[in-house]
Point group: C2
Chain length 111, copies 2
C-alpha cells in the first residue's frame, strides 16, 4: 500500500531546502501539485518504480529532519503567539486588559 | 591555518541533532568544551588529523544546514519579539501605549 500522507506536504514546506533537487522535484509534484506516481513517471521519464522510490526516500528524509529539529512545533508556537498578539491588540482597542495575553505569548515563546 | 570560529558553537546548538554521533561528539569537545585538536585526539584515540577532518566535515554540514534553513535568523526574530513583548508588558504597567510595541512584534513574526 502506498498512500499520500498530507503531513509530508507540510514537512516539505519546512525542510524541502535540505533535499537534493531530484527528490525535491518529485515530492513537489506528488504533494504540492498532487500528481500521481504514474503522471510523474510520464512527466520525468523515470519508471513508476523509480518515482515511488524517490517519494519514499524523500519522505524518510523529511521524517528524519522533523524528528531531529521539530520545526513544526516551532511553527505551531509562532502561530499561537501571533493569535495571542492579535487578541492583545484587539483588547487594547476595546480598553480591556491585554496583559494576560502578552504574558501567555511570552510564556509560549520561552517554553 | 585552522581556527576556531565561534559561530559554529551557535550553529552546533541549532543543528547538532542532525550530525552523526561521532561528528557531534568531536564538535562538542572542540566548541563547547573548548578542547584542542590534540586533546580530543588523546581523549578519543583518533589521530589529530582524523579529529581535524571530523571538525572540518562537521563545520561544513552545519554551514550547509544554516544556508538552507536559516534557523539563526528565526532565533534572532524570536529574541527580538520577546524583548518587544517584555517592553509591552512594562508599558501596560506604566500606563503608556503598548499597541505600537505589539504591532512591531506582529510585523516581525510575519516577515
Amino acid at each position: 500500500m502506498f498512500e499520500k500522507n498530507m503531513k509530508f506536504a507540510y514537512l516539505l514546506d519546512l525542510y524541502g531546502a535540505l533535499l537534493d533537487e531530484h527528490t525535491k522535484n518529485v515530492l513537489t509534484s506528488y504533494y504540492e501539485e498532487d500528481l500521481s506516481l504514474g503522471e510523474i513517471a510520464e512527466e520525468t521519464g523515470i519508471s513508476r518504480q523509480g518515482v515511488r522510490h524517490a517519494v519514499k526516500h524523500g519522505e524518510e528524509q523529511l521524517a528524519f529532519y522533523e524528528e531531529k529539529l521539530e520545526l513544526s512545533q516551532k511553527d505551531d508556537t509562532e502561530k499561537a503567539v501571533l493569535a495571542l498578539l492579535e487578541q492583545a491588540k484587539a483588547a487594547l482597542l476595546a480598553g480591556t486588559d491585554a496583559a494576560p495575553l502578552i504574558s501567555e505569548a511570552i510564556a509560549k515563546i520561552k517554553k
